[in-house]
Symmetry: C2
Subunit: 551 residues, 2 copies
């Protein structure tokens, strides 16, 4: 087994080689890896010998770490030395390629990202799988999202086995959908089985309908029915957030009995800070905190420790209301019931944290016309198309502003200083308005702004607009007079700025409230409408006054 | 005790009446309430009789609900009837003013806010305290934040006893600081005692130094030392987030022993999903999940169930890194250790959720130059001052843009159509740039954008800029030609838009990265700098090209 390569592989055909070559050429790493895994090490070795040096390195990086030594044993000395060298550069000196505890993990995301990019660049995929084996699935997801599309697909191929589901769970919607649709159905189903029910429901909702159906069909009947009932709730409702891993108990048992039952289970779902008490017909009756169970005597009854005033979450409650309640009441989990009060499942804080992050991202990204699930490294064409829509909408408002300016062409021709100063009026209004708008959008999101206090806020914002309008009107007027030596222009710009800041305050409060009433998301379209208003008012006031006074 | 008012109160002096009148006139509800509470019901009754009808109603609303019947008994029939009528209008028919379970709670925040505003308007403060008694402290905090300053102070006076601390904990920084500084020291200390250590540390950090010191001095020595050690960590570090309510166990005890100890404690701190295992010298050794304890046999050793690979949080780790870890790994709590590995405390998910909310608010509010803790109903003058700074900064950039336009006054005079179209060029660049900027700021915040992939992103954004630049350049050129019938202007605006969109892409990536390197928060100042760049490039390219070609 030590010397020359063995030539006793009867079934190594030209087709195999051609296949492998094609797979490597097409970056189908996962397939190549599966093909190689199914082969005898000797066959792999002889296959490697038939390849060009470049192909050989690429193929070598698809060989499973555990079969490496066996394959090496079948190779010629020269080739073995060369591949071993390649292997050694990557591996820590102690050959502990698979140990996770010993090797120092470089925590910095930058270093990890560099490592992945370098490895991809040099085709040394083994390094990636070694790095991934040391990282938390969430970190792997983060790394994948930091990669451009092609590199991402290659790195994704290095995520293996049960980790696939865990990484999938942590990816953002858009990235996940793209990677999942590129997977073989067989592997997608395998990964789906590793997901918790709520995450699987999310995934199915993201995928094309046909793929989702195929995944459902691959599940056993009970699981499928459970998933289907969860899929019947909207994604952004409590029913869409919930999981079905709750532990329900009856009120008339002893804590000791409960503990015996729990010992049989051996482990509990994560975030189990309470059990739910139900009656015979599965109606929710109250909660039993695990900390009560831990501190109770075994002979105590569940009914003595349960809390009946803990309100369950209704399955059709919107998820942002659920998030607010979790946040306000510092909850870790809460029971979900249907309209009849029957216990359906539970919502846990980890999913609520995701909701909170998404809401926040939505508010921020929405203001720039971006989707909160935007893939930072989506292909250029896809990104361009989506952003073009936003630019197009903005172009309409820009042309509206230009049209207003066009009304005063005659005035501008006579007093060209107006053309120089007019962007200042529009810009100050836009900034002041966007401050008010941001405050109102946030107030609506947190529920601080309700029906009763909008008038108070409007008055307050108008007051701020008045004060800041007066202040900056004077400053800009003074600067304009200094610049152009024309008192009339100073006066005109002062009045225009004051008017625009007042309008901006009113529009900043009114636009989001109006949009909300019309069922339009103010975070998404508010800023465009607001800028249109402040541009038009600014240009019209400034140029209109100038026409009246100067001509 | 049934008929006429009794006149046997020897110590009712004119001073008492004057005091009470003054308190009511100055809206010092809490003081009036304390004074009334200390009096005998009979004395209160006779005091009420000396007041004008209006004052009487106001004073009546400060009488404690439990002493109401006693005071009523001492009043004249006519007055009793009148006050009882006032009381009845508010109270549910079953006189269950203090019961919480029976009376229907109106969930809608709007209705609650209306109720509070109406009650304040009519001086019927009892209604507020009755509403508050039914609400969760977090909801009360939300309601208080929805009120303008004066109304807020009046409603705050109706929050009594131990609820004060709970409401305080849920208020945002700015509102909390204002309400806390207006409280008597005595009551502030009382409220402080009701807070958990981490929330108290937050509060002390918010308050003026002298007040904070006074609170510390009022605590007993052990508590004070604990607080001081927590105060030594920055607010935005793990040390500033942690609490000291962890339960630490030794590895060499049996689960049965642990359970016996827990039963002695009777209850556990909330969010206790793990215990921390330490050695003799208080060094952190690992975690023991409560769910393991629940499912273990009593004779198992802690060392058999503990997990030693759970990495503790270092006290000086920044809080956003802690938040990311909680989110990625779905944690409910984590141990905090010092540099020597000694267990200091623990961080719980409820505090992490607050960090996440604050980060998100910071990103959104920062883009409009607002502080994330901004009080929506701060006094007009205070708000105006803070926003004026932002408008002033923006004014500088607006004048820079105006200066660029000013360079081309001669050109504008000859071709006034340029003045009409120039805002379009600047605006398209600003919008495209802000999309890139938002994406980059978010990527930096989530850690997706690290050293290795910025060049890739820059190329991708430039590609998007090129594609959208070409598309919209053609559209705008066509519209401009249709409008002004001038092919040259169409060509000029097309080139200017293309150039500006390319610049916007580069600036959108480069500005936040550069700011980050300089230690400036890109979320705060990025958009101003970006707009300056896109304005200047837009105006310069458009008017400069026009000067070259048209003149």
């Amino acid at each position: 087994m030590t010397g020359h390569p063995q030539q006793d592989q009867p079934d190594l055909t030209a087709t195999d080689i051609a296949h492998l070559r094609a797979m490597i050429a097409h970056d189908q790493g996962k397939r190549a890896r599966r093909l190689l895994k199914a082969m005898h090490p000797a066959k792999v070795a002889s296959l490697l010998e038939t390849l060009t040096p470049q192909q050989r390195i690429a193929a070598w990086h698809q060989v499973d770490a555990r079969t490496e030594p066996k394959v090496l044993a079948h190779l010629s000395a020269a080739m073995r030395a060369q591949l071993a060298r390649d292997l050694e550069v990557d591996a820590p000196p102690s050959d502990s390629a698979l140990s996770t505890a010993d090797s120092p993990i470089d925590d910095a995301p930058e270093t990890q990202l560099h490592l992945v990019l370098d490895a991809l660049d040099q085709g040394k995929l083994k390094r990636i799988s070694r790095l991934f084996s040391k990282l938390h699935p969430a970190r792997i997801a983060g790394l994948l999202e930091s990669l451009p599309a092609t590199e991402r697909a290659a790195a994704w191929d290095m995520v293996e086995g049960e980790r696939t589901s865990k990484v999938l769970r942590h990816l953002h919607q858009e990235v996940r959908r793209r990677l999942a649709t590129e997977m073989d159905l067989e592997h997608l189903v395998e990964a789906a089985r590793g997901l918790e029910a709520d995450d699987l429901v999310d995934l199915i909702q993201d995928l094309p309908v046909a793929t989702g159906r195929q995944i459902l069909e691959a599940m056993d009947r009970r699981e499928r029915e459970r998933l289907q009932s969860m899929l019947s709730y909207p994604e952004d409702s409590a029913g869409g957030l919930m999981n079905m891993d709750q532990i329900a108990v009856r009120a008339n048992i002893k804590i000791g009995t409960l503990l015996r039952y729990l010992r049989l289970r051996e482990d509990l779902p994560s975030n189990t800070d309470k059990f739910f008490v139900i009656d015979r017909k599965h109606h929710y009756q109250g909660i039993l905190r695990t900390r009560r169970v831990l501190t109770a005597r075994p002979e105590t009854m569940v009914s003595d420790l349960m809390e009946t005033d803990f309100e369950p979450v209704l399955a059709d409650q919107p998820s942002d209301a659920v998030a607010r309640r979790f946040e306000e009441q510092d909850l870790s989990s809460a029971p979900v019931v249907d309209a009849d009060g029957r216990l359906l499942g539970r919502i846990t804080i980890d999913d609520v944290v995701d909701v909170i992050r998404e809401q926040a991202a939505h508010a921020m990204m929405g203001m720039a016309g971006l989707d909160e699930e935007t893939d930072m490294f989506a292909p250029v064409l896809a990104s361009s198309r989506r952003r073009a829509v936003w630019l197009g909408i903005n172009l309409i408002t820009a042309f509206l502003a230009a049209w207003v300016i066009g009304l005063f062409e005659g005035t501008l021709q006579q007093v060209v200083a107006l053309a120089v100063l007019m962007p200042i009026v529009a810009s100050m209004g836009g900034i002041a308005g966007s401050q008010t708008l941001t405050l109102v959008i946030r107030g609506l999101a947190t529920g601080q702004l309700a029906g009763g206090n909008t008038r108070i806020l409007l008055l307050k914002e108008a007051g701020i607009g008045l004060l800041n309008g007066l202040l900056w009107a004077l400053v800009v007027a003074a600067l304009a007079i200094l610049w152009f030596g024309n008192w009339a222009i100073g006066g005109i710009i002062a009045v225009a700025i004051l008017l625009n800041l007042l309008c901006a305050a009113v529009a900043g409060v009114a636009i989001p409230l109006l949009m909300r009433r019309l069922g339009i998301d103010p975070a998404l379209a508010g800023s465009v409408v607001l800028t249109t208003v402040t541009d038009i008012v600014g240009f019209f006031a400034f140029l209109g006054l100038a026409t009246l006074i100067l001509l």
